[in-house]
Structure formats: structure tokens, C-alpha cells
Amino acid sequence: MTVSAFLGNGFDDEPRACAAGSGAFADYDLEARFYDEVFQNDGTPRESCRKLVNSLSRASADDLATLQEGVARRFVHEGITFTVLGATRMSEHIIPIDCVPRVLTAAEWDHIDRGLRQRLTAMNLFLRDIYHEGHSLRDGVIPHELVLGCPQYRVEMRGLKVPHDVYVAVCGTDVVRTNDGFAVLEDNLRVPSGVSYMLACRTAIKRAFPRLYRAQGVREISRYPEHLYTTLTSLGSWGRDPRVAVLTPGHYNSAYYEHAFLAGEMGAELVEGRDLVVHDAIVYVRTASGLKRIDVIYRRVDDDFLDPVTFRSDSLLGVPGLFNAYRTGNVVIANAPGTGVADDKAVYSYVPRIIRYFLDEEPILANVETHLCREPDGLAHTLDHLENLVVKEVGGSGGYGMLVGPHSTAAEREAYAARLRADPTNFISQPVLDLSRASCFVDGRLEPRHVDVRPFVLRGREDIHISPGGLCRVALRKGSLVVNSSQGGGCKDLWILRD
């Protein structure tokens, strides 16, 4: 069958012999301990994936290779890249994309959606509380030293009125699935990235599977930039069209493509710190025809570098006086400075308690069991079970600086243990999760690989919007559990079905 014929008949409702272990899925080995997103334990496809499996069964390996190549080529030509800054030079990389979409049912998504709304609502209340009255600290919901001693806690934010109490307007929460159901692996409340890859993946996969896409009834995500713009501008009141800017560290930043993409899609200015000037506590952008006022800044620069006057004085990326303009209420900054305290990996373990305290509800999405090495029991447990745990730095991200016990050598564990003993407050540990697996086209075969998903949540003045989809990250190396693009991970499209 040619690719065009395959594309022309992208789905087939007729039952076919397309179970795991046979036909196109001959190399697909199911393991009961990993939840499989495509097949049930008996090898038959899940109802939501039947059309997808039938489609894939009709395609030859060459067809799929051609599709995969076409999708990757599109990424190359359009420069959908992330940047890696090496020791001597900067290099651009294409994020590996897998052409087989992951499918979630409406009911599954509804569960995630409700859980994320609940979580973000609680986190915004928590942030407001710790920067104002501090009830949760006094009531012992979370140890005050954990919050006040967190490097991301900004004393400059204490008592400061944040527009509509929306500290976190944009959030990307990593959700995983095991045999026990969905759970949150981590919250990204500072400058979550990946939404542009989510949209680029969708565009590419929609082209690759046009008929299947239509037949499946997939929910749309393409209006995300519009929702982002609405969310950002809802945080202030203007008598005119507000001017929005995306503040980027510059084109050396790994997520520069995303910054440029979002600015372009929103019709916002893409600015670096050097493009902005603060005069009389008002933020201006340098245009070719003079200085123009900026009303909203969607910042993709970490707190430390936002304003050399208030935060790190050696920052070349920030804007002198920006925080003063923010404090005066002349500009909206999203996310607000100081939100990082809520996505600290040690604070993470208290999120279920935070939800119960502020909302008086049980968490809809579970947390992953977490041991705090700052506590003697947690440290002892971690040191005793290093070979079975994943150990992370509390402020780390991108998969850097962590130890995956089962995949480590004795020497690596020994070195890591020394770091743990030297600074236990900087670490947490979690059990190695049996992440669910989805079908991927790797090395010319359809095989299962571990996946997670990062949905993007927007919190405006009045409501929360969650794009029905997310960046589905996949560990492309066989057996690997690390999905970060900087660590050999890739991405795939996530299809949320209408019903």
C-alpha cells in the first residue's frame, strides 16, 4: 500500500486481527506492570484506540517511516527547535517527534481537567496566603521553614497586591499514569514550556492522519494562543487595547522558538530586557518610532534575572526598575514573581494538604509518594533504598541533576549519597514509577514506550481554561523513563476524544 492510499483510508471500522504481538504490532510486548495506553492486558486494543490500531495495521513499516520522515522534515524546515548551549557553541536541535498519537477518552480527560483546576486554584490561594496572612503556615499545613527558607520565596512579594490574586496565570503540570491511575509528577508554575511543541505536533499529525483525525472526533487545541492572550489581558483594566510583550532571555535560550512562536501567534511584541525601559515606573518598549508603553509582560525569564535593581544585580537579561513598575501597578507580569516556591519539589509533597486546607476537598489527582531528605526518616529511607528510588534536587528541572536508582552504577549511587548527606534539604526521593506506555514507531517497528503528559492550564481574572490536550512526552530509548527532550526524550500528539 502506498502512503497516499494509507492516508486516503486513514481509518477502518471493520474489526481486524490487530492485537499486540501480531501483524504490525508483532514487536509490541505487553508487560502487565505497565499500563498500556493502546492495548488491554489480553492484547486487544482499547475501545478508544481501535480506529488508530486498525489504521496502523493497514500501513506497512515503509508507510510509517515515510510519515515519520515527513513529520520530522517539516520540523526541520520550519525550524521547530530547542537550543542546547554547549561548552563552546550553541546548537539547535529538532525535538524528536513520534508520528503515532496517544489517545485519551473524554472521561479520562474530564478527570484530569477537574484535578488540574482544583490544583491550580489551591496553589493560587496558597501563594496569596504565604505572601500575606500566612494562615497555612501558622496552622501547620506546611512547615514554615520549608516555605520561608525556599530559594524561590521572594520577600519582595510580601504584602504586595497581585492583580486579581492570580499569581500563576500559566501552568504546565506533568501528569503520569500507572496501573493505579493518574497522578501529578510535578507542577511547573514559573515558566512552563512546551506548548508550542504541543501545537506544532498537532499540526503535523493532523496532516499525517487527516481522515483518522476527523473520524476520531478529536478536540481542538489550536486556539491556545488566543486563550493565552485573553488570560493575560484579563488581569488588568485598560481603556484601550493593552500592549502585550513576551519577555525572552534571548535566542540563546533553549525555549526561544516557543517564545517567538507565542509572541507571533498572540500578535505581541517579543522583547528582551534590553528592549524595555522603565521611566517614572512605567514600562516602555523601544520601537523604531519611539518608546511605547507596555501593559502586560508574559515573562519567560526566571525571577532572579527579571530586574537587576531588585533581584540579582548581575543580571543582563532583566529590566532595571521593572519590579518597581509592577509594584506600582503600572504593568502586569505573568506569572508573578515568587511563584516558584509553590513548585518546589519539597513543597510538592504538601500539595494534597494544601488542597484540603484551602478548598476543603479531597485531591482529585494523586501525588506521587515523596520522601523529603530534609527529614531524618526521609533521608534514611532514601539512603537505604537508593537503588530503587529516583532522587531529585528540589529546585531542579529538565531531568538534570537527578539519580535514577535502577539505572545507576554503584559508583554513581555512592557519589550521590555523599551529596545527599552534605545537603539533605536540597533533595527529595520518589519510587521509580511504572509509567504507562504508548505505541511509538521506533527503528522501523511499533513498540511501546513510556509517556507522560503536560497539559497547559490558564488562570484568568474569572475562569480557568485548560486546552484539551498537552505536550505528550515520550522516552524514546527502550526501557528509559526519562522523557525530557534534553535527555533523549521526544514528543507525540495527544488526542482527547469528544465522547
Binding site: E78, G79, F261, G264, L270, V271, D275, T287, A288, S289
Partner: protein, 325 residues
């Protein structure tokens, strides 16, 4: 338009024009490899390198020596201008710079424009120069020109005529004006009466893609003064000095935040002055030989000043001057 983005568009235009200019000069020189006497080839290399602002390579002046030297070394001389990443004016360096500018302009740049530029860059980056040389030395330059023309066409079809487009066009035309002034200056100097080899005036017209038009408008016999005058003042020729300065004046009139009302912005005033000087001075058939050289030098100096004024007025202006009144 963001001032830094305006600068990036401007420089992107300049780098793309520079790449094409290098490609055209190379195509001219490499096409002649087959049947041109070695001493003329040596002069050709000197003119190409001088025009591109690159140190002139040490080439022998003796015809016999040149024969041996040039044929063996044409590959190296061309390679320096095509694939040498340490040479800031090589085609790959200029294309790469244009792409870097474009990368920072993604929010303002239509996807198709970026894709076309990016594909062109990847083509030259992945090009096997040795293999391309074996297939025909001039083919590589020709393909580069075709790809750049494709990009210009995509820009023309896809971009709104806003300040982004104006700054990019402005960059292309300022670059063109400077290059044409240097090319004319270099060619006229190389054509000064002497016993040595000379370059033909019809070749100059060919390098500037003006030969066919000249033949139709004037004569098949190319005369020195007539050719220079044609390249300076013909309004229909995209590479004439007059064409460039008039387009620059129009573009600056569109960019001027005061809407081209008096007092005009400094770059706009300078462009009008340049237009007047092109109209009046160099390449006039009545002028005495050699007087064009002074005119080209003045033109080049003024065009560089125009660049400085553009940067000072629209990009690097002091904050106090930019505050809203």
C-alpha cells in the same frame, strides 16, 4: 515595530543582498575559467576580492605563472568566498547571519519566508563544495542566486508592506548601493589605460544583469562612458545607483514617523541628497575620464553615513528622545 526587530530586518536584507552579490561575482568569474586568458582571470579575481572587501590574494602577474597558478587555485579562491565560515563575507557566513536575524524575527516573519530562507541555508550548509565544483564550478553560484531569487519572490508575495518589509528592503538597497558603488569604482580603476590586461565593459554589464537591457536601449557595442552612465542612472535597472537611491528615499519616506512631513528625519534628508548627487554627478558622458572615481568615493562615504543615520534614528536613539510627548 520593535527597534531591535527593525535592525534585524535591516541586517537580514543586507546579508541576503550581500550573499547574492558574492554569488553574482563568483558566477561571472567562474564562468570565465574555461576560455579566458590567465592574466585576465588574475585581474578578475583581484576585482572580485576587492569589491567584496576581502584582502586580494597573492596572484602572479606573469601570464605563464598565472596559467599554472590560477587554474590550480581557482578552487581555493572560490571556496574562500563560498564555504569558508571564518570569512565573514563568504556566502555561507552571510546566509547564516541572515538566518540568525530571521530566527529572532520569527514572530514577524511569515512561516513560508522563514522556511524558504532556512531551506536555502541548509542547502548551502550541507553542500559538498568539492562535489559541486566537479559538476561545474559556476553551477553552485547559479543555484544560490536562484534560491535567493525564490526567497525574494516569497517575501514579495507573503509580506505586508509594513515597516518590517520596509526595513528589510531598506537593508537590501543600502547594501546594493554600497556594493554597486564599490564595484563601479573597482572596475573603473581596473579599466584605467595601461598595457596590462583589462576587463570588458560588457562583462560589467553582465555582472550587474544589465547587458540585455543595455543592448535593447542603447547598442550592442558597449562604450565605457555609456556603460557607466547606464549603470549609474538608468531608472529601469534594479542595480543602477539611481534605482537604489530612489527606492531608499521612498522607503524612508514610509518609515518616517512624521509621515514625511517637514522637518524630515535625518536619514530621509540624506537619501534625498544622495538621489540628487546620483542624478547630477558620476558617469556623465560629458565628464572627463577619471572624475567618476571621486564621485563614487563620495557616494560610498555618504551611503555609509546613511547607514549610521538609520541606526541612530530608528534603533540606537537616546531614551529621552523616544519618550512620548
Amino acid at each position: 515595530m520593535l527597534a531591535r526587530a527593525a535592525a534585524d530586518f535591516y541586517w537580514m536584507g543586507r546579508y541576503l543582498e550581500r550573499t547574492e552579490h558574492t554569488a553574482r561575482l563568483l558566477e561571472f568569474q567562474l564562468t570565465r575559467l574555461v576560455d579566458t586568458p590567465a592574466d585576465q582571470l588574475a585581474l578578475g579575481w583581484r576585482v572580485v576580492y576587492t569589491t567584496l572587501g576581502h584582502p586580494v590574494p597573492l596572484v602572479p602577474t606573469d601570464a605563464d605563472e598565472a596559467e599554472v597558478f590560477l587554474i590550480a587555485d581557482a578552487y581555493t579562491l572560490a571556496g574562500t568566498l563560498v564555504e569558508d565560515v571564518t570569512n565573514p563575507n563568504s556566502m555561507i557566513s552571510c546566509w547564516s547571519q541572515a538566518r540568525e536575524n530571521a530566527r529572532q524575527l520569527r514572530p514577524w516573519l511569515p512561516v513560508r519566508v522563514w522556511t524558504c530562507l532556512n531551506q536555502g541555508f541548509m542547502w548551502i550548509r550541507d553542500c559538498d563544495f568539492a562535489r559541486a565544483w566537479a559538476e561545474g564550478p559556476a553551477e553552485l553560484a547559479l543555484e544560490a542566486i536562484d534560491r535567493l531569487h525564490l526567497l525574494v519572490g516569497v517575501v514579495d508575495a507573503m509580506m505586508s508592506r509594513d515597516d518590517a518589509w520596509r526595513f528589510m528592503e531598506l537593508g537590501r538597497l543600502v547594501e546594493r548601493l554600497q556594493h554597486q558603488a564599490v564595484l563601479l569604482d573597482t572596475w573603473v580603476r581596473a579599466g584605467q589605460p595601461s598595457d596590462g590586461p583589462r576587463l570588458s565593459w560588457s562583462d560589467l554589464l553582465r555582472v550587474c544583469r544589465a547587458y540585455e537591457l543595455y543592448r535593447r536601449r542603447r547598442s550592442i557595442q558597449v562604450r565605457r562612458e555609456s556603460a557607466i552612465g547606464f549603470l549609474v542612472r538608468n531608472p529601469e535597472l534594479p542595480r543602477s545607483l539611481r534605482f537604489a537611491v530612489h527606492r531608499i528615499e521612498q522607503l524612508l519616506s514610509g518609515i518616517d514617523p512624521r509621515g514625511a512631513r517637514y522637518p524630515l528625519a535625518a536619514p530621509h534628508r540624506m537619501a534625498i541628497r544622495l538621489a540628487a548627487s546620483v542624478e547630477m554627478d558620476p558617469g556623465d558622458e560629458d565628464q572627463t575620464r577619471g572624475s567618476e572615481l571621486d564621485s563614487f568615493s563620495v557616494l560610498l562615504r555618504d551611503s555609509r553615513q546613511l547607514h549610521d543615520l538609520i541606526m541612530a534614528t530608528y534603533v540606537n536613539y537616546p531614551v529621552e528622545r523616544g519618550l512620548p510627548s
